[in-house]
Amino acid sequence: MNYQTESSWGSYNMPTRKRLASENAVVIFSISTCCMCHAIKRLFCGMGVNPTVHELDQDPRTGKDMEAALMRLLGSSSAVPVVFIGGKLVGSMDRVMASHINGTLVPLLKEAGALWL
C-alpha cells in the first residue's frame, strides 16, 4: 500500500496515462480503525485488485483536510471509505457494492488496468 504525499486529490479527476498505472488504478481513502474501510479493502483484494490506500488518520499534515473535503464531496457524515477507479470517483461502500452486483464494476476495473482476467 502506497503512502501518497500529494494533497491535491482533485487531480485524480483528470485521468492521465501516469494515473492509470496499475498501482494507482484503484485508490481508496480510508481510516485505519474503520471496519467498513477494512471490508472494502478486502473486497478489492478478494477480486485480485491491488488498491492504493490512503489512511487519513496516518497522514498528519493533510489528513484532516482531506477528510473534510471528502465529506463535502460525498455530502455524508462519514468521509470514508471512498473509492476512485481510473481517476473517477465511484463512491462509498453502497455505490461500489451496487456496481459490483449489477456487473459494472469488473469492466470498470479492467478498463482502468486494475484487473486482467
Partner: protein
C-alpha cells in the same frame, strides 16, 4: 363534541334575534334550558339513541318544541325585566309579546312575532338536526377507531407471541416491538402478493399485467429493507440477532437477514429454462454476492475483534471512557446491517433485471414459498409433541402437514 351542544343553542338565538339586549339574555336562558335538556336526555346511551328509529326522534322533536315554548316564556320574563333598559318601540313589542304569551303560544295576533318564533323554531330544529348528524358521525368514528384498535392489539399480540415464542425474550424495546408489528403486516402482504403471483402465472396474464405484479413484489422487498433501516437506528441488536425472524430462518442468519448467495443457490435449480446469457448472468451474480458477503463478514469480524480489545483491555483506568469507546464501535453495527440489506436489495433487483417477466414472477413465487415454508417449519417444530417414542410418526406427520399447508407444485419439495 357533546359539550358543544349548549354552545350551539347559545349562538342560534343570537343569530335570530335583532335586538341587542335580548340576545345575551336569551343566550343564557337557552343555556340553562338546554343544559336541563341535556340532563334529561343524558341517561340514554348514545348508541341506543343512534339505533333508535324516527319515532324517537319525533318524540325528541316534540320535547324540543316544548322547550322552545318554555324558552319563549323565559324570554318574556327577561324582556319584561329589561323594559326599563330598552327603547319604547321595544317596549311595545315586548308588551305585545308578553300579552301574546299569556294568551298561549301560536296565536296569530302579532305576525312579526310569529315569524320570529317560527324562524327561531326552525333554526333550533336545524341546529338539533345538525347536532344529531354530528353525533352520529362522531360515534361512527369511535366505532371504527375501536375496530382499528382491536386489530392493532391483535397484531401486537401476534408479534409479541412470536417474540416470546422465539427463545423467550422478555420485554421488547419499543423500536423492536414496532418493527415486529410492521414485519407481521409485511408477512401478510407477502402472502397476498404470493397469491397474486400464482394466479397471475396460472391465468397466463399478458406480460404487461404480470410486470406490474412482479415490480410490486420488488417494491414489497424494498419496503422491508427500509423498515429494517429505521429499526436498526433504534434497536440494532434486535435486528442483528434475528429476533424478529422465525427460528428456522434464524439458522441461516447473516448480518441481520438472509444470505443472498444462498438464495441464488436455492434458486438456480428452479429457474430453468434459462438462456446461456442468463445462466452466465446468474452465475456472475452468485460470484459477486459471495465476494461481497465475504468482504462484509471480514469487516464485521474486525469490528468484533476491536470490540473485544476495547472491553477486555487490561486494568481499567477509566471505565466510562472504555465504555464510550465500545459504544462508539457498536454504532458501526448499524452500518453493516445497512450494507447487508443493501446487498440483498441489489441482488433481488439484479435478478429482476436478468430474468424475463414470467421468469421473474416464478422466481419471486419460489422465494416467497421458500421462506413461507421455513416459517411454517418453525411453528410446526415448536408445536411438535415432545415424546421420543413417537418421533418417527412425528416426522411423517410434519411432512404431510407441510404438504397440506402449501398447495403449489410438488417438485419444489424435492429439495427439502
Amino acid at each position: 363534541m357533546f359539550p358543544s351542544w349548549p354552545m350551539r343553542f347559545q349562538t342560534t338565538p343570537g343569530g335570530s334575534s335583532k335586538s341587542g339586549g335580548e340576545s345575551t339574555d336569551s343566550g343564557s336562558a337557552v343555556n340553562t334550558l338546554s343544559s336541563k335538556a341535556e340532563a334529561q336526555f343524558e341517561p340514554e346511551s348514545p348508541i341506543s339513541r343512534k339505533a333508535s328509529n324516527s319515532s324517537d326522534q319525533q318524540a325528541f322533536d316534540q320535547k324540543h318544541l316544548q322547550l322552545q315554548q318554555q324558552q319563549q316564556q323565559q324570554l318574556h320574563q327577561e324582556m319584561s325585566n329589561d323594559i326599563s333598559r330598552t327603547g319604547p318601540s321595544q317596549n311595545q313589542s315586548a308588551a305585545k309579546a308578553s300579552q301574546e304569551k299569556r294568551n298561549g303560544a301560536g296565536s296569530t295576533s302579532e305576525k312579526q312575532l310569529d315569524a320570529k318564533t317560527l324562524r327561531r323554531l326552525a333554526q333550533n330544529r336545524e341546529a338539533a338536526r345538525k347536532s344529531r348528524l354530528r353525533k352520529k358521525a362522531y360515534v361512527q368514528q369511535l366505532e371504527s377507531s375501536r375496530i382499528k384498535l382491536t386489530q392493532i392489539e391483535q397484531d401486537l399480540q401476534r408479534a409479541r407471541a412470536q417474540g416470546l415464542f422465539l427463545a423467550g425474550c422478555g420485554n421488547l424495546s419499543s423500536g423492536a416491538a414496532i418493527f415486529d408489528m410492521e414485519y407481521a403486516r409485511w408477512i401478510e402482504e407477502d402472502h397476498r402478493l404470493m397469491a397474486e403471483l400464482r394466479t397471475g402465472l396460472h391465468a397466463h396474464l399478458p406480460d404487461g399485467d404480470l410486470r406490474i405484479i412482479v415490480d410490486g413484489y420488488v417494491c414489497h422487498y424494498d419496503e422491508i429493507f427500509e423498515l429494517k433501516g429505521v429499526a436498526a437506528k433504534s434497536d440494532v441488536f434486535h435486528l442483528i440477532t434475528g429476533q424478529w425472524m422465525s427460528p428456522a430462518e434464524r439458522c441461516f442468519l447473516w448480518i441481520g437477514g438472509f444470505r443472498p448467495s444462498e438464495l441464488i443457490t436455492m434458486l438456480i435449480g428452479q429457474l430453468d429454462p434459462l438462456t446461456d446469457q442468463q445462466l452466465m448472468g446468474i452465475s456472475r451474480l452468485q460470484h459477486s454476492t459471495q465476494q461481497t458477503e465475504e468482504a462484509l463478514s471480514q469487516g464485521q469480524e474486525q469490528l468484533q475483534q476491536s470490540l473485544i480489545d476495547t472491553i477486555a483491555a487490561g486494568p481499567v483506568i477509566d471505565g466510562m471512557q472504555q465504555m464510550a469507546v465500545a459504544l462508539d464501535k457498536l454504532g458501526n453495527l448499524e452500518g453493516f446491517i445497512r450494507q447487508a440489506d443493501n446487498l440483498r436489495r441489489q441482488t433481488l433487483h439484479q435478478l429482476r433485471h436478468i430474468l424475463t417477466v414470467r421468469q421473474a414472477a416464478r422466481c419471486f413465487l419460489v422465494i416467497a414459498e421458500y421462506y413461507g415454508r421455513l416459517r411454517a417449519l418453525s411453528s410446526l417444530w415448536a408445536s411438535r409433541p415432545r415424546e421420543s417414542l413417537m418421533s418417527e410418526d412425528i416426522s411423517c406427520q410434519t411432512t404431510t402437514d407441510l404438504q397440506i399447508v402449501h398447495q403449489p407444485s410438488q417438485n419444489h419439495f424435492a429439495n427439502f
